[in-house]
């Protein structure tokens, strides 16, 4: 009986970790930054936890005060974290299933409403 329990538990644990497979959806540009051993974000755990606040703060500054710096701009997120399709040179929509944003957001069941208005791929002409 205990053996079965161990097997069941280990299966459950593996499935949880299997779900957190954010590696291959990191995004084309972000992948190349990572593989060249550079860092863009000072603290990844901070970005993971705080990105909604950072983005909300930035959007108000941009829209209402005209502050258009690169830091915490949503288009900046998309530019790095969108992944190219295997066959063509086009990008997947960043909010599509299995892509960078939805990878976590689906898991924790939090709706992303950014992309009903914002562009989901890097700007036109970015290849």
């Amino acid at each position: 009986m205990n053996r079965w329990m161990v097997l069941l538990l280990s299966l459950m644990v593996t499935s949880v970790f299997a779900h957190g497979h954010s590696e291959h959806t990191l995004g084309t540009e972000a992948d190349s930054i990572k593989s060249s051993d550079k860092t863009y974000h000072q603290s990844i755990s901070m970005i993971r936890k705080m990105h909604p606040e950072f983005l909300n703060h930035k959007r108000d500054k941009t829209l209402r005060q005209g502050v258009r710096t690169e830091e915490y701009s949503l288009s900046g997120c998309v530019t790095c974290h969108a992944s190219k399709k295997d066959q063509s040179n086009d990008y997947h929509a960043i909010d599509a299933s299995e892509q960078f944003c939805s990878d976590c957001h689906q898991k924790v069941a939090v709706t992303v409403d950014c992309f009903s208005c914002h562009r989901t791929t890097p700007a036109e002409g970015v290849k």
Partner: protein, 243 residues
Amino acid sequence: MDNTINRRDFIKATTATTAGVATLGAGITLTTYVNANENPVTNEKRWGMLVDTNQLTESDIDGMVSACQKEHGWGDEIHSTGDQKAGWIKKVKVKDTATQRISNLALMCQHCDEPPCVDVCPTNASMKREDGIVLVDKHLCIGCRYCMMACPYDARSFVHEDLTDQKEHMPRGKGTVESCTMCVHKVDKGEQPACVSSVKSDAVIFGDLYDATSKINQTLKKVQSTQIRADLNLNTGVRYSGI
């Protein structure tokens, strides 16, 4: 990776970021002057436009409309019909009933100093920047369309359908109100609005109304100009001459 941040880590990281910005700031003082996007806009400027209807031809206006569509990506809505269609900038014919004289004008958001759309907005989504540009904060817009009712120029439109492939600088989405932004994304970079640069002649001038050395300020001092519905005392940023 540990996903939790304790307070100490947060403060440490924030301080590091601040220090980084400060050092960077010292190094790039020169660029800051050219590209003042790091600093909030101020009311030392007031962006405005002067449309000379005597010089502006009908094809100029069509060019302005298509330049605006191309810049912001509106006009391709499939499901919207008639009045539902987006119209950030329109060609308006004005006819003098006595003399039958027809003038054409390009009509868009007039970027009022005292905008009625801002007065009526229940969520503060309709807003005026310090430099006089009137915008919709679509993050806050609930789509009530009071502002569309309040606007004397019929300058605003409502997005009735799901959109994809928006321009990077111009997020647009179903359920929000939109209008001319005076190409704020270009103005912040020191460029001219798309419609202004589409006109080859001097029929449309864009610039800082307060700056005595600007072309628009000097022209407004010289020529007779008017505001549309000046009786409403909205003090518009877009002025017209020749009507």
